[in-house]
Amino acid sequence: MDFSIKNHRVLFHLWDTPVYLTDTLIATWIIMGALILLAVVVRVRLRRFQEVPRGFQNIIETMVESMDNFTKTIMGPGFDEFGPYFFGVFLFILLANYSGLFGLRQPTADLAVTGALAMMSFVLIHFRGIRMQKRGYIKEYFSPHPVFFPINLVGEISKPVSLAFRLFGNILGGVIIMGLIYGMLPLALRIVLPDLLHAYFDVFAGSLQAFIFTILSMTFIAQKSTTE
């Protein structure tokens, strides 16, 4: 049983390192395509949006409003610009986690994807922290005493690492377990029996991990932006 991410062809080289067209990249592009298509459809239909939302409009408005409220609740006031970013990230992780239901290799079961997401959060955490705290940002690493600097530094580095590995580990765990179960079951039983496990590993755990990643990133950014 092979759980590895397959390389299909070399796309280009970057710093003498080949970039491959992998299962993950294909799934990522499919998810991106679906989401961009949704965005285009919304943009086109926006002119016909009614005062009283119904059907499709209602779903889109609920999604946007929920994320807007969620950002305000978790991060507090003054973080409105993060709403669109986390909307995109949350939808991407959610669809990436659900993509296993459609036979795709979940992009979030690849450390490169979760690492990229965590790195983006890391950059935002510190970029926003420096912008808001200015001198206090550096001071925080030596707080409460300069002797704590290494611990504080490790604490900061561990944030993206934990974000990336938490998401990656949970989703990869689901992929492996589902793979083993599919491998164990005779062909006739593969149709109905794994449904409950898919509901748990792909839908429940997928939603939960998307939520956890988003909420933790939001919290870290808000924490780092608060001047003491």
């Binding site: 092979d2 759980f3 590895s4 991410i5 397959k6 390389n7 299909h8 062809r9 070399v10 970057l14 710093w15 390192t17 080949p18 970039v19 491959y20 067209l21 992998t22 299962d23 990249l25 294909i26 799934a27 990522t28 592009w29 991106m32 989401l35 961009i36 949704l38 965005a39 919304v42 943009r43 926006l46 949006f49 005062e51 889109i60 946007v64 409003e65 709403g83 669109p84 970013y85 909307f87 995109g88 939808l91 991407f92 459609f102 036979g103 290799r105 992009p107 690849d110 450390l111 490169a112 994807v113 690492g115 990229a116 997401l117 790195m119 983006m120 992929v175 589902m178 793979g179 599919y182």
Partner: protein, 182 residues
């Protein structure tokens, strides 16, 4: 696992796939995914999130403006209602005052009329009493006069019958003497 989207382009030069590799390739792939995810979040933000949020904000503003206008209209209506009620109350008070004044005036007029009537009646009564008194006096005088006439007539008859010429002259002389003395 269902691998519906695998592309059968695997060549001999391609390395075998891996689950986890902490190397330079991971960093390069991370950069590729950062670009992809950034592009996706950017597209979603500019095509979906921001326009929908703007639409919702504009609608919220419109509804808020409508609510504000409705509240203003309501306040104006309430103010008008208060004015109307105040006017009604004023009219009621004015009506009461007019009624009261009219009643008072009517009462005064009535009193005046009663007083005048009473005085008139009194006058009539007094006049009647005076007339009655005058009439009574006249009647008494008339009776006296008639009694005198009768008495004189009776006395004349008596004298005519019982007193001779000589006596008559003497009596007349005595009467004349008395008058002269008085």
């Amino acid at each position: 696992m269902f691998q519906l989207c695998t592309i059968a382009l695997t060549g001999a030069e391609l390395p075998p796939g891996s689950i986890l590799s902490l190397d330079k390739k991971l960093l390069v792939e991370m950069l590729v995914y950062i670009i992809n995810i950034s592009l996706l979040t950017g597209v979603l933000a500019f095509l979906l999130y921001k326009p929908v949020k703007k639409f919702m904000a504009q609608r919220k503003e419109r509804i808020a403006a409508e609510i504000e206008a409705a509240q203003k209209d309501r306040e104006e209506a309430l103010e008008l209602k208060e004015q109307y009620e105040s006017l009604i109350a004023d009219i009621e008070t004015e009506r009461e005052e007019i009624l009261h004044a009219a009643y008072k005036k009517a009462m005064e007029r009535s009193d005046q009329m009663l007083f005048a009537a009473r005085r008139e009646a009194e006058n009539v009564y007094n006049r009647a009493l005076a007339e009655l008194k005058t009439e009574k006096e006249n009647m008494a005088d008339e009776m006296k006069r008639q009694m005198i006439e009768i008495a004189a007539m009776m006395a004349g008859r008596f004298v005519e019958v019982s007193v001779d010429r000589e006596t008559q002259d003497r009596l007349i002389a005595e009467a004349l003497a008395e008058w002269e003395e008085s």
